[in-house]
């Protein structure tokens, strides 16, 4: 197990290095930060002086080496727009995104498990047909359209729920402004989290249903039935447990996708999280923040995947044994 872990971690570090090169090379084409930092009537000489001062005239490799050196020490540079360390900006935006992803995940889990199992057990019932049909529709509508529709119906037309923002926040511990503990904050969470889960929920329903169906055909389920176990126990303990393995794998990968989809959801709902911050940083050519965010998200991805790999190794020893050869 130890060797397996070491191997995975070394791989992860290599991936991080590649991500930083990629992120850094994209930065060159995002735009010119100096333009965004100065008024349009500022002379080229002044602009050049500023560019020199910020080290933007240095060769690519010099800039990259400087970035990596600082990044290893935990310094991802200063955001041009926020005029603060990029890491500080990203972390201050993280709670918003994490709370949104958290609530959306709960919605996904709470709905996908029972619906998925039900649809697998009773594939011909009209209810599971409706659910399956709806899930096709759900997975095909882009998340920003879902979001705008939700705003239009529930905020503009009916006036039931707020259209944008996070509402009233309370600092639950230093640096974490939470909307989960106030009524207003929770009201603000409803629409964005539904919009965000609209992509994942159908996927998970279908995944659980498919896996479950396969497992229900397996010999040991027939054996369990033959033994006369209660149906409930067969479904939840014997069958469902075995569908979990692929669901965990996909879940780990999809968590990353979910973070990507927060960009759209957050933009539409003006949710002040990392996603909208990232889009804004591109629009403003705040390249230092763009790169810092890419490296940060890359880091999170790599850590999540490594951890999922390691858990996988624990749950299913065959993975690490196969790897040892």
């Amino acid at each position: 197990m130890f060797a397996f872990a070491i191997r995975r971690i070394v791989q992860a570090m290599l991936v991080m290095l590649v991500i930083s090169i990629l992120g850094f090379s994209i930065k060159q084409s995002v735009g010119d930060p100096i333009r965004e930092l100065t008024g349009i009537s500022v002379s080229e000489t002044e602009r050049e002086a500023l560019r020199q001062q910020l080290g933007l005239n240095d060769p690519f490799l010099v800039q990259w080496a400087r970035f990596v050196k600082n990044a290893v020490h935990g310094d991802l540079g200063n955001s041009f727009y926020f005029k603060r360390p990029a890491m500080e900006v990203i972390l201050s935006k993280a709670p918003a995104t994490l709370e949104l992803v958290f609530v959306a995940s709960i919605i996904v889990i709470v709905f996908s498990v029972p619906i998925g199992i039900y649809a697998a057990v009773k594939p011909t019932s009209w209810l599971s047909r409706i659910c399956m049909g709806a899930s096709i529709v759900g997975v095909s509508i882009p998340v920003f359209l879902t979001a705008i529709l939700l705003i239009y119906v529930f905020s503009v037309q009916l006036g039931w729920l707020p259209a944008y923002g996070r509402g009233e926040l309370v600092e639950i511990f230093p640096g974490w402004q939470s909307g989960l503990v106030t009524t207003d904050g929770l009201l603000h969470l409803i629409l964005p989290s539904i919009a965000l889960s609209s992509i994942m929920l159908p996927l998970f329903i279908r995944l659980i249903r498919a896996e479950m169906k396969e497992v229900l055909e397996a010999e040991y389920i027939k054996f369990a039935r033959a033994k006369g176990l209660r149906e409930r126990r067969i479904l939840l303990v014997h069958a469902f447990k075995n569908t979990l393995l692929p669901v965990i794998t996909v879940g780990g990968v999809q968590l990353g996708t979910m973070i990507a989809f927060t960009i759209l959801t957050e933009t539409v709902f003006n949710w002040q999280g990392m996603g909208s911050m990232f889009i804004e940083s591109i629009n403003r050519a705040d390249t230092s923040l763009t790169v810092a965010y890419m490296v940060f998200v890359g880091f999170v991805f790599v850590v999540v995947n490594t951890v999922v790999d390691l858990i996988y190794g624990v749950v299913n020893p065959m993975v690490r044994i196969a790897g040892r050869k």
Partner: protein, 516 residues
């Protein structure tokens, strides 16, 4: 149905905040929040809007483009170079210090150090005559001294003097890092910054000692940046905010028809133009070809179809109300004549050119560019168009990568000469004139008249000169004017005088706003 949840929300808000004589809170949503608390860090519309909230200028523009006394009660010209300003007595900064002539001198000196403002204030100097009198002079006679005084927002020199907790001078102007002035303010304006979370939320509180007791009644402003157009409009229509700016043109009708929202529009002063590069294309050196470009493009059509009537077709740089505006120079559109001119110039078969335009800088910029492509095709000019986000556009524009380039311009001085200096004068790296003249049009007469106009302090004579420049540019078809963008705001009807506080500079004077 609609009212119930609002009542619920109101009840909840009341439960949270201790019940006082309900403070007037303005919930304001803009496309972006100011980038700093230091008014000198960047010259941009957003920062000037901020300056009017937290600081006060010496004088300011009224809605009909007159000067209105603010911190300067009156002023007089004492010679060709100097204007004397008499400051209002007893004006307090947010820190409690009193405004004196020294603060004005200090502020002007700081402007001269600011990357963004030093160009505008080149040659300016200030001298305190006594505690409440200050002389502002220019190196050469300058007819726009008073226009520039609208950009002088006195800062609290005592407050910004010394070193901060990091050992740096408090008056440093820093664009990309922490600085005292980026995070603290002490102005004389109607509001103080109570809370600032960049890109997220600002809370501005009414300054109790504000000198102008006859201004508006807003106690608190909650400013939220909402970059997404659709979300900003939805927030207003849902009653979550009270005032939004800008309003996307596709939603004008929707807001006009909505019961709980009011649309305010005003003819703007930003002109959208195209420049045909004569250095890259010898064809454009022929005035007949340039005129043909002007004749082939249907400005009125673009305004009607693409801008939905919410713009004004332009035949020159200067909008109405500017000194250089010449009413005779109307948009020209005559396809037959354009074809004839092309034939006369020997380009009957036409030619192929490249063109670039931004796609998120001006209202409908990309669609306008596409329309131009179609219109020029009719006189045989095949255009290869490339559009890009503004973050990438200006480098390309400067490098003059295409034969036709789009640029919009708003005059920082609210005066015609500014258009000519940046867009039409001969490009000159040393003087910085013609910085955005990618047409490379160069006419010594234009340069001469513009520079002479700037030195002319007789405003009537000056206007004549500027109008002559517009006429020359028109006859030379030096550039292709398209239209002046309209400005737009939308608000809840409970804001009583919202249409009175807005202006063509797009600096709404929220200090004067009255809420029911």
């Amino acid at each position: 149905m609609r009212r119930f949840p609002l009542l619920l929300l109101a009840a909840m808000l009341l439960a949270v905040s201790p019940a006082m004589a309900a403070p007037k809170v303005l919930r304001l949503a803009l496309d972006a929040d100011p980038v700093s608390m230091d008014p000198h860090v960047q010259l941009s519309g957003g920062m000037l809007q901020y300056s009017h909230l937290v600081f006060d200028p010496l004088v300011r523009w009224t809605q009909d483009m007159q000067f209105e006394p603010r911190l300067a009660e009156k002023w007089e010209r004492i010679d060709d170079l100097t204007m004397r300003f008499h400051l209002r007595h007893g004006v307090k900064f947010h820190s409690g210090n009193e405004l004196t002539a020294e603060d004005v001198v200090w502020t002007l000196n700081r402007l001269l150090r600011s990357t963004d403002f030093k160009g505008l204030f080149d040659g300016f100097s200030a001298k305190a005559v006594d505690k409440y009198t200050v002389d502002i002079s220019t190196r050469e006679p300058y007819g726009l001294l008073l226009n520039m005084a609208t950009y002088i927002f006195p800062m609290d020199s005592k407050f910004y003097t010394g070193t901060d907790e990091k050992g740096k001078p408090k008056d440093a102007i820093v664009k990309t890092d922490w600085s005292f002035a980026n995070e603290h303010e002490s102005g004389t304006g109607p509001f103080t910054v109570a809370l600032r979370e960049p890109g997220q939320k600002w809370i501005l509180k009414r300054f109790a000692d504000y000198w102008d007791k006859n201004s508006g009644n807003i106690d608190e402003i909650i400013l939220t940046p909402i970059p997404e157009d659709a979300t900003r409009v939805a927030a207003l229509l849902a009653g979550d905010v009270d005032f939004i700016s800008p309003v996307p043109p596709q939603d004008y009708d929707r807001i006009d028809n909505a019961k709980d929202a009011k649309l305010i529009t005003m003819d703007g002063t930003r002109v959208i133009t195209l420049q045909a590069n004569m250095k890259r294309r010898p064809e454009f050196q022929d005035v007949r070809v340039r005129t043909a470009l002007n004749l082939a493009i249907n400005n009125e059509g673009i305004v009607k179809r693409i801008m939905k009537g919410r713009a004004k077709a332009a035949g020159q740089n200067s909008p109405e109300g500017y000194a250089g505006h010449n009413p005779a120079l109307t948009p020209r559109y005559d396809l037959e004549k354009a074809k004839a001119l092309m034939k006369e110039a020997g380009y009957e078969k036409g030619f192929t050119v490249s063109m670039i335009a931004p796609n998120n800088r001006y209202v409908n910029d990309e669609k306008i560019a596409e329309a131009v492509v179609g219109m020029l095709a009719k006189i045989g000019i095949k255009v290869e168009l490339k559009t890009m986000p503004k973050a990438q556009y200006w480098d390309q524009f400067d490098a003059q990568v295409a034969d036709i380039q789009m640029i919009g311009w708003h005059s920082d001085t609210e005066d015609s000469a500014n258009f000519f200096e940046y867009l039409n004068m001969c490009p000159n790296k040393e003087t910085g004139k013609g910085q955005y003249n990618s047409a490379n049009y160069c006419n010594p007469k234009v340069d001469e008249l513009t520079m002479a106009a700037n030195k002319e302090t007789d405003l009537e004579k000056r206007a004549k000169m500027l109008q002559e420049v517009e006429t020359i540019l028109y006859n030379d078809a030096a550039f292709i004017p398209l239209h002046w963008q309209m400005l737009s705001w939308a608000c809840s009807p409970k804001l009583k005088n919202a249409d009175k506080i807005v202006n063509v500079m797009n600096f709404p004077y929220f200090g004067d706003l009255i809420m029911e």
